[in-house]
């Protein structure tokens, strides 16, 4: 994965301004053929604007979009041939599932018999054969979503654009669709860009994730790297849950947090610098023997597969996750001692 990327889709210094507001500042991204990229960020971070520029629905203020060696920046959306799944699905309500899917083929001048054959095959691919003659209004959210996917894929687009496609589904269906969508994408091998604000969705489906904030790219990395080695506090806080502790470097490899000395690799950060430590809730080991950082549990929440605790101690307030091993966990008011393995702490210069 980490060899030089042979760029299939290239966004080059892409910028979009709406009056004084800069929606996307300077977006450069190389996407390899067949790669699944997620644009992840809170609302207003510019991820949807970026997707719309790739789709051709928004004209960039400056920058270029290059697809398979051709500059498509000025190409109108109906000539780009990209497949798009919209957040609202945007199905045509006056057409049946088959008519919806075959619309793109009709626009390409495919003969009627072949059109219907290919539309039915695409519906088969998303397991909707028995709904071919239904109108969108008579389908569930998940079925509509899959019609939208079939409609985008049937035209065999070079790039598939997904705009929060799962956000209107209920939690259980959303998880199923993640797996289904990812398998289908790998099966077809279509280059895909997903826009989402859901970090779990991005982590579970992508080859690489682009985290965006205020129109800028915060970090681009593979899911595991992003989670384990975030390069800034925004990413570490936005992707997954984390505890952020502010402290001061007092000696090489020693940080003082609220009077507690913590050992961590400070690299070349000089003594006296203010730093922020990030530690994920699930990295903590909890025990009753008084080795480690003392906390008093002030909230204990059972989540089924795990326990979520909130503990207060000399380090401040900490969130702790522990797997459910089938025995009773800590209760409110209990005292516990926390330790963590080497490398569980990530260090950032400055405060949050």
């Amino acid at each position: 994965m980490w060899g030089p990327i042979v760029s299939f889709l290239r966004l080059e210094a892409l910028k979009k301004e709406f009056g004084d507001f800069v929606a996307v500042r300077d977006m450069t991204l190389d996407v390899a053929r067949g790669e699944f990229i997620s644009l992840l960020g809170p609302s207003g971070c510019g991820k949807t604007t970026t997707l719309q520029m790739v789709a051709g629905l928004l004209q960039p203020t400056s920058g270029r979009i290059i697809l398979d060696g051709k500059d498509i920046t000025e190409t109108p959306p109906n000539k780009r041939g990209l497949g798009i799944v919209f957040q609202s699905y945007a199905l045509f309500p006056h057409m049946t599932a088959t008519e919806n899917v075959s619309f793109g083929l009709e626009m390409r001048g495919v003969a009627k018999a072949e059109r219907i054959e290919r539309a039915l095959a695409a519906l088969e691919q998303v397991r909707l054969s028995q709904f071919a003659d239904r109108y969108p209004k008579d389908m569930s959210g998940g079925q509509r979503q899959r019609v939208a996917l079939a409609r985008a894929l049937v035209i065999e687009p070079p790039v598939l654009l997904l705009d929060e496609p799962l956000s209107n589904l209920d939690a259980k269906l959303r998880e199923e669709m993640r797996i289904e969508l990812r398998l289908l994408q790998q099966d077809i091998g279509v280059t895909t860009i997903l826009v989402t604000h859901d970090q779990e969705e991005a982590l579970s489906m992508s080859d690489r994730i682009v985290v965006m904030q205020h129109g800028d790219v915060s970090q681009t990395a593979a899911p595991l790297d992003l989670y384990e080695r975030p390069t800034n506090t925004f990413v570490s806080d936005f992707v997954g849950k984390t505890n952020l502790l502010t402290g001061k470097v007092v000696a090489p490899n020693t940080v003082d947090v609220n009077g507690t000395k913590i050992e961590v690799d400070t690299s070349d950060i000089g003594a006296g610098s203010t730093v922020t430590l990030s530690i994920r809730p699930e990295k903590f080991k909890m025990s009753d023997d008084s080795s480690g950082q003392e906390v008093r549990i002030d909230a204990a929440i059972f989540l089924g597969a795990s326990w979520l605790y909130r503990g207060t101690g000399p380090l401040g307030e900490l969130f702790i996750t522990q797997p459910n091993t089938g025995t009773a966990g800590y209760a409110k008011g209990d005292k516990a001692y926390l330790s963590w393995p080497n490398g569980a702490l990530t260090l950032f210069e400055g405060t949050v």
Partner: protein, 287 residues
Amino acid sequence: MSGASLRKTPYALTGPGVLFFAALLGAPIVMTFLLSLHSYDFTLGIQSDWSLGNYADVLTDSYFHKIFGRTFGLGLLVTVCCILIGVPEAYVLSRLSSRWRSIFLLIVLGPLLIAVVVRTLGWALLFGSTGILSMTAQALGFADAPVSLMFTFTGMTIALVHVLVPFMVIAVWASLQKIDPQSEDAGLSLGASKFTVLRRITLPQAMPGILSGSIIVFALTTSAFATPAIIGGRRMKVVATAAYDEYLGTLNWPLGAAIAVLLLLANVVIIVSFNKFIERRYAKVFE
């Protein structure tokens, strides 16, 4: 609340409205219908007999055939003109920014804010042989002699379209508002040109609005009185003005009543069957 009183609640709530309409709409219609069953004698006045003679007169007289034909022809023409003007107007309106939209909406609704007689007399000023239209046409060399649209079918059509277009615009606009704008983007992304998107994606979704607007415009045209009376006059009678003339001109109230009942009946039949058609055609597609 007990089950029995719960069941009574809807009746209690709709009661006042039902009474209001029964007294002020239902009763006059029934009385008009009963009146239409009497015969009329030019020396003795309204007789107390019961017969369908007035209906037979209207249905067999080619004079009335012509008037009914003109009325429904006018209804059809005005409806088509309102579709041709109102649908693009509503589409443009739905594309404007909200500030411009409220300004243009006010302009579109303008005709409705002016009293019908004043508005129609305004048209009469424009249409007359010494009116602005005639003078302009002569000045530009389109006509050698004064032209007048007064007492013509064309004049009536223009004046009615002017006042009825707002109803079409509002009906179409309401259904355009319901369209998911992303469905148009989806059409574009699938390779359709802007025009194809308009024709294949937007227009079909606006169809319920166009059809309900058509019903309103058609019903208001065929039952219009003031505009045909002033612009059409005696030379271009429609059913409403013919009924008026029977009442107040020849004083044959029963015949006037029969004409009015036939107009109501024809309108109800046309509108109900059209509505059925719409529901059958589009209920499957729209929620």
